[in-house]
Symmetry: C2
Subunit: 363 residues, 2 copies
DNA sequence: TACGGAAATGAAAGCGCATTCATCCTAGGT
DNA sequence: ACCTAGGATGAATGCGCTTTCATTTCCGTA
């Protein structure tokens, strides 16, 4: 335990050169069997484990991919965790968990390990830099890392931006993967209009600078236009945060404003708010979906558990992680080829449950 | 993008020595402000990101903790994932997910990043060695890594074994953390006996070599003894796998064997089997808990969703991850002090739900 | 204005491994 | 037995950074 053994120790003990020791690990077939055995035996005796750092330094590649995501104490995700009862807290996956899972699996398939780190919003030389220095390439959840940092880092290694549209001000040579926010919301809106025959609809948007929320609103607006309904220029309500509490408040505002002209359906830019709205509507004595249909967006697990179960649009977070790895691995493979930045959009699913008026459909 | 900039480049461009560049990142206060600015500016221009490998090599510490867990395609966890509908597949956390979450949070608090890797069961020089070479210390889920490998690795850096009792044949200088399997099962068994007045009980065990399952059986046996019931030497049924299918089969076997003497309660060594049993019992026209009580062990989220909701013992997997980090960080702090291997046991909770006869209790 | 000590900086020596290139064996061919 | 082509091995160098240790620069002070 005192001084950890190195190639030199193993080489000495087995009577070969360090080059041979190195070869035993890197390219076993290039060493005669007898020699190899000797070396491995010595290594075992000594408790030798190759230093990943040294190896990485010498071969300039780490065999590790990275993932940076927002700190859990981020208001957005925090509320998500708090949404479930304290008891359930640990039972449900956050987005980041799903992406981690997807990336880990995909990374493993390609022989990579995964380094994960939530960026503490403050930190000067944040974890991001640390991660960037230790991996061959990495993925970043949108708005986790300051654009300027990404600019610098992405010049050194491949970076793929996840979930969240390409930042026009950001580095333009970043790959990026997002989900079909607009398409999903549009499909869901059409479902309400066409299948349930609803016409008086309201849309509760998201925070000002969320491109995701904006894209969802656009999808909503597009569906209205296609249906010949009036095309709104902005969400009917635009809360500060996309939390349950804000969702509840939004619905109050909507009802107060509407008077007798209560909307037949309210679409929320995320599940959190929709669930908050469910509670608020219940308190007001309104039935969902009989009096008013409600839909969310995201497909969080909690949405399945509430009553009525929430109709929503599910994002394939797990696949997001997988695609990210694919992209990175591909970039790493065809090094030198400074190909065009790639941009992928993953399709989403409309999940019809009870809150829109569909029966108790599986899902 | 061609040649990534190094300290030398930054040093040259800013007219200082590489030592100063290094100091700017490592210990900014030891450099005059004007100098620092110069260096940072140059770094920005060049797109410089310190190499974690070089840093790690030189300072012999990585600032990274590791976690190795079994491959998802492991029969045990695989069935767990398959248990939920395909749709829910991504909605629920596996054990590993929860541990990852716990470790990531704790690691971040201590300024570490987390490197995760599922060990592909086969692999010669598995990922484990790779991980071991790149971290300051790491945690291993029981039975993920061959004992001999651990023996070697644990001589080089701190390793903590998770969930699963100390392996008597294994390295004796490993820290390890487990959950109170025996205590939990004992408490649950007592609940059935004392609170529900059940006396004809059966226990469905786990795979032969699972120390966890064994510990649970021991707890069951202990509770019987305390209650003055006959003390079994072995589980009434011991399936090959701890899957839903095996749980269903076990219950069939039990019923066929029992004839009219149907047990009043069946305790399963994990939730998976218990849930399988629920289905089997329903098919046989038996009501749970009226005709027979059923309990599981683990506290998987699915247990809350089945009807009747499953009474079980919940393991604090998340905390397991946190404690692991604490232990590792502590070891790393007091280096040199070859302290005694530490062994922690985390308490578990009995979660009373419907399947044991308790009302619709929260939890 | 000159002096002492602290703060700032530079020079140089590794950290542990991969990797040419050169050297040495080994085996096959005649 | 002798020569040669290849395969196995060794020597040496560098990867990019941290870290003493020595040196220089700076400040306040006499």
């Amino acid at each position: 335990m005192s001084s950890t053994p190195t190639v030199y120790d193993v080489a000495e003990r087995s009577g070969v050169s360090i080059a041979t020791v190195s070869r035993v690990y890197r390219n076993p077939d290039s060493v005669r069997e007898a020699t190899r055995e000797k070396v491995l035996a010595a290594a075992r005796d000594l408790g030798y484990v190759p230093s990943g750092n040294a190896r990485g330094l010498a071969s300039r590649s780490t065999g590790v991919l990275g993932l940076c995501f927002p700190d859990y104490s981020d208001p957005d995700t925090e509320s998500e965790a708090a949404a479930a009862d304290a008891d359930d807290d640990h039972a449900f996956m956050l987005y980041s968990d799903q992406i981690i899972r997807g990336m880990e699996r995909a990374a493993r398939r390609h022989g990579y390990a995964l380094l994960i780190a939530a960026s503490l919003s403050g930190g000067p030389e944040s974890l991001v830099a640390k991660v960037a220095g230790r991996v061959d390439g990495f993925a970043v959840l949108a708005r986790t890392v300051p654009t300027e940092d990404l600019e610098v880092i992405s010049r050194r290694l491949p970076v793929v931006m996840l979930a969240g549209p390409r930042d026009p001000d950001g580095p333009d040579h970043l790959d990026h993967i997002e989900v079909a926010n607009a398409d999903g919301q549009r499909a869901l809106t059409r479902h309400l209009i066409e299948d349930h025959g609803l016409r008086r609809l309201a849309f509760v948007g998201g925070v000002e600078d969320s491109p995701d929320a904006q894209a969802r609103f656009d999808g909503y607006a597009a569906a209205r236009q296609e249906a010949g309904l009036s095309v709104p220029r902005a969400p009917d309500v635009r809360p500060e945060l996309m939390t349950q509490a804000e969702g509840a408040r939004a619905v109050e505002a909507l009802l107060d404003r509407a008077g007798a002209e209560l909307p037949e359906g309210i679409l929320f830019a995320n599940d959190q708010m929709a669930i908050g709205a469910l509670h608020a509507l219940e308190r007001r004595g309104l039935r969902v979906p009989e009096d008013v249909a409600v839909t969310g967006f995201d497909g969080i697990p909690l949405g399945r558990l509430v009553r009525p179960a929430l109709t929503t649009v599910r994002q394939p977070m797990r696949r997001l992680g997988e695609e990210a790895v694919d992209l990175l691995v591909h970039r790493l493979g065809s090094s030198g080829t400074a190909a065009e930045p790639e941009s992928r959009v993953l399709p989403v699913d409309v999940v019809r449950r009870e809150s829109c008026g569909c029966g108790d459909v599986a899902g």
